[in-house]
């Protein structure tokens, strides 16, 4: 099992358990405020929580936090940018085909973050996370600020990554259509807890 979550819960997270194999994508649905984003934060160990999370059998708290987050990468709905230019936020320049597949202008590399649109920020935040080659992607509505065509391109890139790198993804989406055919299961978050649906 690549990624296993046992009785995860926190102050703003209802109890959740699930397990993902390599190549698997789990979509997460539920009313806003039910704790979907908070669950992803707990999975990335960014907020205090109870329960256990395992990556390839190794428990979260036994790995240094920074190392865990490079392998279990959260891309939040609102990305943070701490320096002036785009390039300063990247460990290295992403491959050209990734820029192309997300339909981003290569000149954005030297652009000032202030001038980026919300859609450009969202796409660059995904590229920024992918160059760390994480084993698990935690995606908080990765297509929220994108128009239809760009949303499709984003979904394709992410699903392709999961497949090619034998990774897994937990994907909050208000539009399950975009992950259709790839996500075998979905998690319905309710105030009482997460309910798993679909084939195992």
């Amino acid at each position: 099992m690549l990624f296993e979550v046992k009785n995860l819960q926190g102050p703003n997270v209802p109890p959740v358990s699930f397990a993902l194999q390599a190549g698997e994508v789990l979509t997460v649905q539920g009313e806003s405020g039910v704790g979907k984003s908070q669950m992803l934060r707990a999975l990335a160990d960014l907020s205090p929580h109870e329960g256990q999370v395992y990556l390839e059998g190794v428990e979260q708290s036994t790995i240094p936090a920074a190392k865990w987050r490079r392998q279990v990468a959260l891309v939040p709905a609102e990305s943070g940018w701490w320096a002036d230019t785009v390039a300063e936020h990247f460990a290295r320049r992403p491959d050209e085909d990734r820029w192309k597949s997300l339909r981003l202008r290569p000149s954005l590399w030297d652009a000032e973050v202030e001038r980026l649109s919300s859609g450009e920020r969202q796409r660059l935040a995904v590229l920024r996370a992918l160059i760390l080659t994480p084993r698990v992607l935690l995606l908080d509505e990765p297509t929220a600020n994108l128009d239809h065509e760009n949303a499709l391109a984003m979904a394709e890139l992410l699903l392709d990554y999961v497949e090619r790198y034998k990774a897994a993804a937990v994907w909050i989406s208000h539009n399950p259509e975009e992950v259709r055919g790839h996500a075998s299961r979905w998690l319905d978050m309710t105030p009482a807890g997460g309910v798993l649906h679909g084939t195992v």
Binding site: L46, P48, S61, A65, G80, A129
Partner: protein
């Protein structure tokens, strides 16, 4: 030379000036009269009280008494550091960080100056020890308060930026590099201004006081230089310690930014 003693009449005369200011404010409808009067009264009472206490302490001049006074001063300064912050660290940690940073610097620097530089007999002679500690503590308190205030407020505002770096696997050290240096700078700015302005734009209070009391200007200047260096060292190291301890409290062992440990503004 000797000091010309002030009479109550002299003080009443200057109080009259402040009263006149209050009257003008009332006439202009500025509504600050009450605050002005209350704060002036408070100043007079506090200073008279300190005067009485100092007279008693100078009379006694025993080490335990001076230590007690120093402890009270430190405790009040520690409280002020917390009170001046908009989003101070909750609970005893917030108070303790300010207090620890101050005692590790202001107290040590004062004792060093008393024993190695001034060499009064005995070294804790209250005429030197208490004003010296007061001056160093006052400045250190301001510096540490500003540094911690900058640290906690900026951390609160920059949550997204800091967490973005944590999410990319940056260690806390890296994710807070800018936060820490900015906070250090905030704590040192008043001291840097003081150094630049000394003698040119402002005549430092202690030097002025000594000259008024009949000390030759060059002797007063030497004392002032000593004080300036002590203040700078104490404020700089104090801010450094406060910022390091503050950052440690802002994060937990799992490198999570714990804004829940701050008071809500």
């Amino acid at each position: 030379m000797e000091l010309y003693n002030l009479t109550p009449f002299d003080l009443a005369l200057t109080a009259g000036l402040v009263l006149a200011l209050g009257v003008v404010q009332v006439l202009l409808g500025l509504g600050l009269f009450r605050t002005l009067a209350l704060n002036s009264l408070r100043m007079v009472l506090q200073l008279l009280l300190v005067g009485v206490i100092l007279e008693a302490v100078f009379e006694a001049a025993t080490l335990p008494w001076i230590m007690l006074i120093a402890m009270v001063m430190m405790g009040l300064a520690g409280y002020e550091v917390v009170a001046r912050q908009k989003r101070a660290i909750r609970g005893w940690h917030g108070y303790g960080i300010g207090l620890l940073a101050m005692s590790a610097t202001a107290l040590i620097v004062t004792v060093l100056a008393l024993t190695f530089a001034i060499e009064a007999d005995p070294w804790y002679r209250p005429q030197y020890a208490i004003p010296l500690l007061g001056m160093i503590l006052g400045n250190t308190m301001t510096g540490i308060g500003l540094a911690l205030n900058n640290l906690t407020q900026t951390a609160w505002r920059s949550r997204q930026e800091i967490e973005a770096r944590l999410l990319l696997g940056h260690p806390v050290r890296e994710a807070t590099a800018e936060l820490r240096s900015d906070s250090m700078r905030a704590g040192l700015i008043p001291t840097l201004n003081m150094l630049a302005a000394a003698g040119v734009i402002s005549l430092p209070g202690m030097m002025t006081g000594q000259i008024l009391a009949g000390v030759p200007p060059i002797e007063a200047v030497k004392y002032q230089i000593l004080i300036m260096f002590l203040i700078t060292a104490a404020t700089g190291f104090g801010s450094l310690i406060a910022v390091q301890l503050g950052v440690r409290r802002l994060f937990d062992p799992r490198d999570r930014l714990r804004l829940d440990r701050l008071r809500s503004g």
